[in-house]
């Protein structure tokens, strides 16, 4: 029964190598909450841009006739990982958690597992 701020804070502090996290509505592209990031890395801009990633993937799956749901999306940069996890909320409002990880410090399998737990705790 965490509130959004606690959930984001937990993601940032408990996940090794996390440098930023955002909770994003993927229809409007608005970040409902952000934590971390930096002057050179605007999480609001990243949130809006990554909604297009989700949409493109969903459209592709639609065209292919795939019935499964997207659990998460991993984007690997040379020095960062970007992890996008779609929320299976009862509200059905289409939200995702967006996590930025420092590739040198992060444990990807662990991060994925912890993000799943934080999603469950958010209970939305």
């Amino acid at each position: 029964m965490a509130n959004t701020e606690t959930a984001l804070k937990e993601a940032l502090t408990s996940i090794e190598g996390a440098t930023g996290v955002a909770l994003v509505d993927y229809t409007s592209g608005m970040a409902l909450g952000t934590m971390g990031g930096s002057k050179t890395f605007d999480l609001n801009v990243a949130a809006a841009g990554n909604t297009d990633v989700i949409r493109a993937k969903m459209r592709t799956m639609e065209m292919l006739g795939l019935k499964g749901d997207i659990e998460d999306v991993l984007i690997t940069l040379s020095d960062q990982y970007h992890l996008i996890r779609l929320l299976k909320s009862r509200g059905g409002n289409g939200l995702f958690l967006y996590l930025v990880l420092d590739a040198a410090r992060a444990n990807l399998a662990m991060a994925r597992h912890q993000l799943k737990r934080i999603e469950a705790e958010l209970e939305v």
Binding site: M1, A2, N3, T4, A7, L23, D25, T27, S28, G29, M30, L32, A48, M58, R59, E62, M63, S89, R90, G91, G92, N93, G94, L95, L122, E123, V124
Partner: protein, 266 residues
């Protein structure tokens, strides 16, 4: 010989402040950290110490619809809470205190509803807004939003809609299905919207019927319009003729206008 220089006359420019601040009155109220209720043509903003704590609009489904439509909360529980409290915000806080609602779910629904109604409240209006100083709105346990954040998001949303499909007619008109069926695929979310297009409902009506945010429905409808699935129903009321342009007196501007007209006529 010294050349006498007279500065050129200033060119007429549009007032940039008009496009930057959505509502100068709201900006001023935020600066003076006002508490009260701002009534605008398309919606109402509740301010506490210059921050937006709540927003309502006839075009956007309220917090109650968003909370109860998808099973986050039972409708009966909401009705009981509303009966015991003066407003929807207090009802939500009561449910939170009673432990009937998870904090995260309520916060997100509250923010969804606030930005959604705020988008319509800040829409261009034909009449000036009115502000009533009032001590009722207050900063509660639910998150409040700075005025600049709401304005920024509203502008971003306008741009997003414009990018999807530049014709705003589908935002407010009753919708009908296009006569020639488009072959482009429709996502399940858009399918639900398309199924409710009946020639009577507007995007706002569909949003309420589905229990979804109105802005999200505008996004779906504009995408459906861009893909050729829906069109706005023919307007019953004729648009009033635009007012004639003011007479031009400055000879330079008159010359430029004649030049422009001539170029356009080529």
């Amino acid at each position: 010989m010294t050349a006498l220089r007279t500065p050129p006359p200033p060119l007429p420019v549009r007032d940039k402040a008009v496009t930057r601040a959505l509502s100068p009155m709201l900006t001023r109220l935020a600066e003076e950290r006002a508490t009260g209720v701002l009534l605008r043509e398309h919606g109402t903003l509740y301010l506490a110490e210059g921050r937006v704590v709540h927003a309502e609009s006839a075009f956007a489904p309220g917090l109650d619809v968003l909370l109860t439509a998808h099973g986050t909360l039972a409708g009966a529980a909401w009705q009981r809470a509303v009966a015991d409290t003066p407003g929807p915000l207090q009802a939500a806080e009561l449910l939170l205190d009673l432990g009937r609602l998870p904090a995260g779910a309520l916060e997100l629904c509250h923010l969804d509803a606030l930005y959604d109604a705020g988008y319509f409240a800040l829409a261009p209006s034909s009449s000036p807004g009115r502000f009533r100083y009032d001590n009722t709105p207050r900063l509660g346990p639910l998150p409040s939003v700075p005025v600049v954040a709401l304005e920024r998001e509203t502008l971003r949303r306008r741009l997003l809609l414009h990018r999807l499909w530049p014709d705003p007619a589908t935002d407010s008109a009753p919708l009908v299905r296009a006569e020639q069926r488009s072959a482009s695929p429709v996502t399940p979310r858009q399918r639900a919207v398309l199924d409710r297009v009946d020639g009577v409902r507007t995007a706002a009506g569909i949003a309420r019927n589905l229990g979804r945010q109105a802005f999200h429905t505008l996004v779906d409808v504009r995408r459906l319009a861009a893909a050729g699935h829906v069109v706005p129903a023919a307007q019953v009321f004729a648009h009033p003729a635009p007012p004639p342009p003011p007479p031009v007196t400055d000879p330079d501007i008159a010359l430029l206008k004649r030049l422009r007209d001539a170029l356009e006529a080529l």
